[in-house]
Amino acid sequence: MSATLVVAAVEDRAALAIESLSLSFGGVMALSGIDLTVAPGEIRAVIGPNGAGKSSLINVVSGLYRPDHGRVWLGGRSFAAVPTDRLAALGVARTFQNLALFKGLSVLDNVAVGLNHGFRAGVFAQIAGLPGARRERAAAQERAAAVLDFFHLTDMRDRLVGTLSYGVQKRVELARAVVARPRLLLLDEPMAGMTLTEKRELTGFIRAIRDELQATIVLIEHDIGVVMGLSDRVAVLDYGRLIGDGTPEAIRANQAVIDAYLGVAHDLEAGEGI
């Protein structure tokens, strides 16, 4: 397969490579034969109608789904099934389509807990307040506070997240994802349900994350305006197949994409959420 050869050639410098990936649920193909390579530092959008397999793709990359076929390359290593437990250690972070915050924790703790995986001190050291444990914790709190500052969340650091508005909660989730300085960030519909102002603000944040962390960002998004303005390249899924992949300009001109998706984008936008 020529696609495999291409992947093999670039895997060592790709932030993420997906190789002939297929996934099905009870006989229904969610993804079939997807090949995708994401370069380091790139903002890559994945678009497509509802049910096209976008979320499934991110769930496979973060190990929540186990693909039927194919491999995922992360940080130069290849996986038949990505180990979710080691995701953070591999430098991968993600947000969820539906909010996935820890309602019983404050904003600061929601973000700080994203650094737990790097701690060396055990639970006894933490209870006893040994110097190592205290240093780690202080450093984590400091880093989390800095991230809150970056996302203009400092005023709410001690509030329980359940008491915050939807848009703010989305921002907290983004803060939690970036706190450990991931090299690859997967965003599943970060703009869904946001106002125009919030979307504009978030677009700025995503660019800033890429620039400050030199992170690679893969995002699923419905808002074509946002996607075209923000991404370096765009991949288009339809019925689990990759029907287009290229720069925003190339995608705009791609007939298959226009037929499947762009031509009816407005209908889709209007019909979303039903």
Partner: protein, 295 residues
């Protein structure tokens, strides 16, 4: 190993397993519609048996006793649903569970305040003579109980398949929000389900009461139904039946063949260990489909 003795133990176990299924079905009905693990099912069973026995002892004819008890069970079921569970809607499942535990305390206490704490015999008029079927001895009473349980399951299936309320129940169990948007009266379905659970409790209460005597410990038969539910799934009537058979058989076989090595008395926990062991091999349970977590 003596094969006919083994068969006898196995059949005895399967038949007592039917009795477990009977209790488990009461749980399933309520769990499917409201997501509540109704711990009060055992106390309902006790209450129904105690009420029936006391009425008979006061000279009422059998059918009058049945009807009055059924009316009482219906009223209690509806009352629990309206007074206790409806105000707690949207609370976490553990809170609802606790509430049903509170209900079970109230019913157990009230039943005994009302009818006294002494043990009553309950004679359903069935001889418990062992019946010989091709060399294997089977308890007549167990056979009768299995027959009644089977009939009750058939009635439930007909009810849920062919009546309006039954169809509503299935809709609610599948998707409460969609059912609501279709204009189904959830409250009426809730009441109907609790009534059905009360009826199941009556049947189970009479059978268990006839076997063990009607007394406080009757409410503890829930502890026999719980491993059945773990095995068969809290939301599957078929699971409750098959699970009950498996648990009944395993329990009896273990009691006879393994129990002596441990000094006996293992029936208190062997069902739980068996159910857990099974789930280790098949995490999805007997009939559970593998759920895809939507994230």
């Amino acid at each position: 190993m003596d094969l006919s003795f083994f068969t006898e133990v196995l059949v005895g176990g399967l038949l007592s397993g039917v009795m477990y299924s009977l209790v488990a079905i009461g749980f399933v009905l309520i769990y499917k519609t409201s997501g509540v693990l109704n711990f009060a099912q055992g106390s309902l069973l006790l209450f129904s048996a105690l009420t029936f026995v006391s009425l008979i002892e006061r000279g009422l004819p059998f059918w009058a006793g049945i009807l009055i008890t059924l009316a009482a069970m219906t009223a209690i079921g509806a009352l629990i649903e309206r007074v206790v569970l409806r105000p707690l809607v949207n609370q976490p499942p553990i809170t609802l569970f606790m509430a049903t535990l509170g209900v079970s305390y109230v019913i157990e206490g009230a039943a005994q305040l009302l009818w006294g704490t002494q043990v009553h015999g309950l004679d359903l008029g069935i001889d418990d003579r062992p019946l010989e079927i091709s060399g294997v001895f089977v308890s007549t009473f167990d056979l009768f109980a299995a027959g009644v349980a089977g009939a009750m399951v058939a009635v439930l299936i007909l009810f849920f398949r062919y009546t309006g309320i039954g169809l509503g129940f299935r809709a609610v169990a599948d998707d409460p929000l969609a059912a609501l948007s279709l204009g189904l009266r959830l409250d009426r379905i809730g009441t109907a389900v609790w009534t059905a659970a009360g009826m199941v409790a009556l049947v189970a209460g009479l059978l268990w009461g006839a076997r063990l005597g009607v007394q406080f410990s009757l409410s503890l038969v829930v502890l026999k139904a719980l491993p059945v539910l773990v095995l068969g799934g809290f939301d599957s009537i078929a699971g409750a039946i098959v699970g009950g058979l498996i648990i009944g058989a395993v329990e009896k076989l273990a009691e006879v063949y393994i129990g002596p090595f441990f000094g006996g008395g293992i029936e208190g926990w062997i069902a739980y260990v068996a159910a857990l062991g099974f789930l280790l091999v098949r995490p999805a349970g007997l009939f559970g489909q593998k759920l895809v977590e939507r994230v």
